[in-house]
């Protein structure tokens, strides 16, 4: 497995927050200016204030769902991260992780601090950690020990020489027992 993660792609994925959610609510307020009451199919008398509350709540929920409700991703400068895991297929036990860092011009990024963390997809399980060392300029090599079969996610904690941090996630599904 050899995958290239383009951090700059993250810039285009920003969802723009949830401000759209307030539009229907303001419509509800406008409707509520008229002095009417409605009687529902179920015989409930509903005042204008109640209509406003309900419409606002439903609109917020709908907008949250529609917006994808993700936090906006902070734009990163163009750092390309490539990684490789061996051996394949991935099994319980030690694995070697190779990480390659390159800048926008394709030049290797030297002197970065890279740490590995792997978590299971299920919460409450023990994470494993691994140190990484720079073996050649821009090439980093480390190891992890998967303790259990299942789906794992590797977090590559990268601190660039200028202090910027990145934390790409690498999904490693279906780690099998030996």
């Amino acid at each position: 497995m050899h995958v290239r993660l383009e951090q700059e792609l993250e810039e285009s994925r920003s969802t723009g927050g949830v401000s759209a959610g307030f539009f229907p609510a303001s419509r509800a307020r406008r409707v509520s200016r008229s002095e009417w009451r409605i009687r529902s199919l179920f015989g409930m008398a509903i005042s204008r204030a109640r209509v406003t509350i309900v419409l606002s709540a439903l609109a917020c929920v709908a907008a949250l769902f529609a917006s994808g409700c993700r936090k906006a991703v902070e734009p990163q400068s163009a750092i390309a991260i490539e990684y490789g895991i061996s051996p394949q297929p991935v099994r319980v036990g030690p694995v070697a992780i190779a990480v390659k860092l390159g800048d926008a011009a394709g030049e290797p990024v030297l002197g970065a601090r890279v740490n590995l963390e792997a978590d299971m997809s299920h919460p409450g399980m023990a994470p494993v950690f691994g140190e990484v060392r720079e073996v050649t300029p821009g090439q980093y090599l480390g190891s992890l020990e998967f303790a259990m079969p299942g789906d794992w996610v590797i977090l590559i904690h990268v601190t660039l020489p200028d202090g910027r941090r990145m934390e790409p996630q690498v999904s490693v599904p279906g780690v099998t027992a030996n």
């Binding site: 109640r50 978590d119 997809s121 919460p123 399980m125 259990m148 079969p149 299942g150 279906g174 027992a177």
Partner: protein, 469 residues
């Protein structure tokens, strides 16, 4: 409760609200973190609290005390607030006045848990919580009383069935006092003096009339009856766990267990679902799923899970319980027909099922007990509150080697409970030859227990994916 401090506490009218408010705040935090926080489940409040801490704390509370989660249910706080604006006018439809809907929803949640890998998705977990709040608001906004709790809520049904094993029960202290009571406020609600239409303290919303109430089924421990009783004759009292499964009187708001096929179906989903839910976490399930996918020629999870659920929640119970009922009929000389016989003895599997839920959920709870600390630290840090320092992700819980004996203990307790209940039922059914009625059902319990023990010793495999690509 005879403990002086506790007795006063449980008589305090605002106790429920005070318990509900923190849970509501936690629920909101879980939803926000699930939607806006990290996508990695072990680092998110929604997944960690839901699938590690809430479930574990719930089953341990049910084992040690009773259905106190329903007492502190945050959904009901929101419902009560909403009912200040909307007063429902409809009665719950007659056709749905049973547990069939909630049996289906309970099975559906177990299915969705596997299909959507809910444990690994903060996003879906958060929407599940939001969906729950919305469902409560819609159902109890339209229908009177506690329709959602009694006929819909899957968590509530789980708690109702599991609390059959609890040592505490809300019940009458002295039945003679009830005989002389003229107002029946425990069910009707306490009325304002001089204004009979004004209810100042509601009675039981789940239609449980205290003098005829037996056991914890359908009881949310809301304590409305405790507050409504003018004679202070209702309390939280101790009893023999599982004793309510050994008898079959007509129960207020429920009827006889032996005549409730829907309740028996709930007990089946509860008991066999416990095994299925745990089976989803061990390596052999992925071999079976891959094999099913191959013979079904499918490349998606849902149909494979559908077959698996049909096998373990429908076919397996039908075969095992049908066979046991048939043998009981032939050998035990029971005069009951096959289905009523199966319905009657199905409740005997509840202790074993609870033992399995307990072993499974307490395992995650205890081995991941302290993971809550870094997750909370991380969530607080995200909102700029680093008071508790940087998260210590190495914090875990009790080592597996200590938890595993406890799991086995829970399973043994569950089996012992099931055998005891089945023996009591057999004795009351066939006083002359109880062993003949006991043996087939005991055999079913032992088979299920062996399956549970086998699972406990399988290598754990936490996979959401089993199909290539």
């Amino acid at each position: 409760m005879q403990v002086p401090g506790l007795r006063r506490l449980f008589h305090w009218r605002h106790l429920r609200t005070v318990l509900q408010i923190p849970l509501l705040i936690v629920s909101v935090a879980m939803v926000l973190d699930g939607l806006l926080g990290p996508s990695l489940a072990p680092k998110n409040l929604a997944t960690t609290l839901s699938w590690v801490h809430f479930r574990g704390a719930l089953v341990l509370l049910l084992l040690c005390a009773g259905n106190f989660f329903c007492l502190a249910c945050p959904f009901m706080l929101v419902r009560n607030m909403a009912r200040r604006f909307f007063y429902p006018r409809l009665n719950w439809p007659q056709r749905l006045r049973n547990k069939w809907l909630s049996v289906g929803l309970f099975a559906l949640i177990l299915f969705c848990y596997e299909d959507f890998s809910l444990w690994s998705s903060p996003w879906w977990t958060a929407w599940l919580i939001v969906g729950y709040f919305l469902a409560v608001l819609v159902v109890d906004g339209l229908f009177k009383h506690a329709s959602f709790c009694k006929f819909v809520c899957p968590i509530g049904q789980f708690n109702f069935v599991a609390s059959a094993i609890s040592p505490l029960e809300v019940k009458v202290r002295d039945l003679d006092v009830c005989d002389s009571c003229g107002t029946k406020d425990c069910i009707r609600g306490r009325r304002a003096p001089g204004a009979k239409l004004v209810v100042i303290q509601r009675g039981c919303e789940l239609a449980l009339f205290q003098p005829l109430k037996v056991g914890n089924m359908d009881c949310t421990f809301c304590l409305d009856c405790v507050h409504a009783c003018p004679h202070d004759n209702i309390g939280i009292l101790s009893r023999l766990p599982a004793s309510e499964l050994m008898v079959d009187p007509r129960r207020s708001g429920i009827g006889r267990f032996s005549q409730r096929k829907d309740l028996a179906a709930m007990a089946i989903v509860f008991s066999f679902g416990a095994l299925l839910n745990a089976f989803g976490m061990v390596s052999p399930v992925y071999v079976l799923e891959s094999w099913l996918a191959e013979i079904l020629h499918v490349n998606s999870k849902a149909p494979v899970l559908g077959v698996l659920f049909a096998l373990f929640l429908v076919l397996e119970p039908a075969v095992l319980l049908g066979l046991a009922a048939w043998v009981t009929q032939i050998r035990g000389g029971s005069r009951r027909a096959l289905v009523p016989l199966a319905v009657r003895y199905t409740y005997g599997l509840v202790p074993l099922g609870f033992g399995m839920w307990l072993a499974h959920y307490s395992f995650h709870f205890l081995t991941g007990l302290y993971t809550l600390v870094p997750v909370i630290q991380s969530a607080l840090a995200r909102v700029g509150w680093t008071l508790f320092g940087s998260p210590r992700w190495t914090l875990l819980g009790i080592p597996m080697r200590y938890v595993q004996p406890l799991e086995i203990g829970f399973l043994v307790l569950g089996l012992a409970g099931s055998l005891l209940v089945i023996h009591q039922l057999a004795e009351s059914d066939c006083a002359e030859r109880p062993l003949r009625a006991f043996v087939p059902w005991a055999a079913v319990s032992v088979v299920l227990w062996l399956a549970a023990m086998w699972m406990m010793f399988q290598p754990m495999d936490m996979r959401g994916t089993f199909l290539p690509g």
